[in-house]
Symmetry: C2
Subunit: 502 residues, 2 copies
């Protein structure tokens, strides 16, 4: 039996090496590739992805996994995790027949191109028939995987193992109902007492920002011996092999773009760097879930990076690095870092309003999959919810239902992982504070290692040993809940209100 | 039949895409990879190389190639080229049995590590037994490929299709016998009349050099929409897919390092960029040989880049880009660009002496393979030839027989391709001048397109349609010969002598 398990590990590590090469092709495409070479890169990605797929679906590999799964009792618990998680993922794959997979891939690719045009021309009608077909095919996919459960649940689980609609309904509804009045109150207050949030604007040379953000990431614990920080149009994190690479986007007019995207991606990277190297390539050496990954990025970006203690440490360094900050105060910088205002575009939304953007999408996509909402009614439903949740309404679909690519790529059940991330982040951060005592003094000294060590112990090192809800429960002593996040956002709102009344 | 050929092209293109991914893994390793991630990168390269090897040796692919080769008459001439060259390469591979391939790979890897230590500690005795085993195994490899020919010929052909020991004996001996008295004369002259070759030294900011060399490469015809210029410890060129990447090494004390390595690698890159895109991935879309590749780099580096006309164009730009050049003259710069002096290290050798370094290695490795020279006698033989050919003698083996990695990697028959490159370069350059008229005026204006267009037509676009000797003959009207190179070097020597008598 142990022999079979060793074979599994060898096969998984070989796949992991090939997937690392694939990750490099993508990373290079976003950061290095000359413009005229993109067709060749697409071919290379296609060729290597086909190799990976082939190896993941050879009968020999599938039989090995099945044999091990049928004799789980003969394995040690950690080995059981690797077999169970590998089998779960493979089973989802092989329940889809080749024709369905090809039809779905072709449709997604076509729909993506249509979405680009539809958004450019603000023409929802162009995309609508594709969305309808995408909903239909994702329902078929869900039925092929598990016809006994609601399609949305099956799809959701593909992005967030262990999540259910029931859990989301419960937690996200609480979050929504708590947030709506908070946001409305903030909006009224800001209308009367606008806050000056310009303290991080001006002119900041890109090269100075690069140096500064490298230093910040390093101080949080990002290891440049095992990672890189580069630039790309959309910031991202990727594990290439033994190294983890993050990117940022620099605006020379506003320090916040590069700083907060660096903090965000550093959070993702610290998770990858904290996985157990002895479990490389196996589920135990792989991040738990998308929501858990997002919790790590959001924790460093929002809970740490927008805190007063963090800015007490950062401000003197920033003032030294950027002459344009001369004469400004740390209090003004903290306000700029926490600027909040209801807005139309999710990716530009602030910490207070972001989750309502997600909840809106979660509710709409759930209704689409359940057949409770028709595609043609989507733009109207979108606008109504925006008005209700955030008090703003897009004048165009480009700024509304067409803004995100996800649905045009058939990604239904993906959005909630963003809010789960925020929710886990707040709950973990509270628990770390309880375990370690107040972290503010350490932050103000630029010492983030107690928090990082706690996260490594409680989250990173476990990989996929536990599903996200259990991992949260073990780390915090309670099931995932909206309360910690809501409490955090309420405190932030009260602080902003106090500032706005000065 | 055409169907089979299309299948071949599809298979070759798939291999080409996967090899492009492999090239990216290597490029990234030399230019981007964090130090702590090298073990993971080695695994990824191993995993992907195994995939490529597997695909190249599947019975289906081999049968396809054999079938096509057995029915060559049914194909068009260009298709015949692709089949013939593919089969030739595959046949060499499949004649080696798996045990031999593994034994050889293990020995090379071990010997490489030993070479690093031997060179560091100046301890030839440490490496000697490995060299002996490498010679033995390369003889076995040669015998497995073709037991009817001299081992050295078989190995040589693996690096330079179409080359034979007889051709090399003839051309390189002429070159050697012509060069030795020239070099000796130069050395005597310089002893009495040293030349001031410091005009390109001083302090030059790396960033300024980067900008300058990018502009120079672009002016020669390097297309940054399809290529990159980066930095690495050892400059190199690699075709990644639809793009070609070159690297350079910058010394802030001496403009020549980055400039001439940029010219050299640009030459390699222009060849890759000039291959026929319609023949992508097939032998007709692949560079002819290593020697021909080197001819393109040397042509731009030496024939163009060290010419008076080139410096007439370059000097005003350089003087503007680098304040440290203020008050110096183009004549002095040209002398610095053409500094020549017998020295110990091949990679630092100048245009005049370089080929004697190669010829020395060619003669020694030929004797090793033929059994005419024992490993233990190698250091002594090395020193004797250095003294005879270049009038200098290393005090240590580190500066002698241990300086190059090639033999420790089992690369016997590789060195001559460097001199073939120089030889082809001079012959092609002469022919271009005959066809196009004097190129100097165009160079002095910074116009290199007539020369590049000629090289594209005469060399690049043909890929492997002709073997190197035939390609040279078609382009120049004569078989490859040492005469044009010797004549060029003689002119250069006479000019240097004239300078040294001023």
């Amino acid at each position: 039996m142990a022999l079979g398990y060793d074979d599994l590990v060898a096969a998984l590590r070989n796949l992991h090496d090939l997937k690392g090469a694939l990750a490099l092709l993508h990373w290079d495409q976003e950061t290095q590739l000359p413009a005229g070479a993109s067709a060749g890169r697409a071919r290379q990605i296609g060729a290597l992805a086909a190799v990976v797929h082939e190896r993941e679906t050879t009968p020999r590999f599938l039989d090995l996994v099945d044999d091990l799964a049928a004799n789980l009792d003969h394995l040690e618990p950690p080995q059981q995790v690797d077999v169970r998680e590998t089998k779960w993922r493979l089973d989802r794959k092989r329940r889809l027949d080749g024709a369905l997979v090809r039809e779905r891939a072709a449709l997604k690719s076509e729909a993506h191109a249509v979405w680009v045009r539809a958004r450019r021309d603000d023409d929802f009608a162009l995309l609508a028939p594709y969305l309808a077909r995408l909903v239909t095919i994702e329902r078929r996919v869900a039925a092929a995987i598990d016809s006994g459960r609601a399609p949305y649940d099956v799809l959701l689980e593909g992005f967030e193992r262990g999540a259910t609609t029931a859990i989301l309904d419960e937690t996200l509804r609480k979050l929504r109902d708590g947030l709506i009045p908070l946001i409305a109150r903030l909006q009224r207050r800001l209308a009367d007492h606008p806050l000056d949030t310009t303290a991080l604007g001006g002119h900041f040379a890109a090269e100075d920002q690069r140096r500064f953000n490298r230093a910040v990431a390093g101080r949080l614990g990002f290891d440049f011996e095992r990672g890189r920080l580069d630039e790309s149009v959309h910031p991202f994190t990727t594990e290439v092999g033994d190294d983890v690479r993050i990117t940022t986007r620099v605006s020379e007019q506003d320090l916040r773009y590069a700083l907060f995207s660096t903090l965000h991606e550093t959070g993702h990277a610290l998770y990858e760097l904290g996985l157990d190297p002895a479990a490389r390539g196996t589920p135990r050496g792989t991040a738990c879930s998308m929501g858990m990954h997002e919790s790590q990025s959001r924790l460093w970006e929002n809970l740490v990076g927008r805190s007063e203690a963090f800015w007490r440490w950062l401000w003197p360094l920033a003032a030294k690095a950027f002459p344009a900050l001369q004469g400004r105060s740390v209090a003004a910088a903290l306000l700029a870092a926490n600027e909040a205002r209801p807005s139309l575009i999710r990716t530009e939304a602030d910490e207070l309003t972001y989750n309502l953007h997600i909840i809106l999408r979660f509710e709409l996509e759930q209704a689409l999959l359940a057949g409770d909402l028709g595609i043609d009614d989507l733009p109207t439903a979108w606008r109504a919810k925006m008005r209700h949740y955030l008090g703003v309404e897009p004048l165009t679909d480009r700024e509304g239902v067409l803004q995100d690519v996800h649905w045009a790529e058939g990604l239904f059940g993906y959005f909630p992982t963003y809010s789960l991330g925020n929710l886990y982040a707040a709950q973990l951060y509270d628990a770390a504070g309880r375990d370690l005592g107040p972290l503010d003094d350490a932050f103000a000294r630029g010492d983030f290692s107690p928090l990082l060590d706690w996260l490594r112990r409680q989250v990173h090192v476990h990989g996929q040993t536990f599903q996200a809800p259990e991992l949260v429960a073990r780390a915090t002593g309670a099931a995932p809940s909206a309360e910690p996040l809501l409490a955090h956002l309420r405190r932030k709102l009260e602080w902003l209100e106090a500032m706005a009344s000065d």
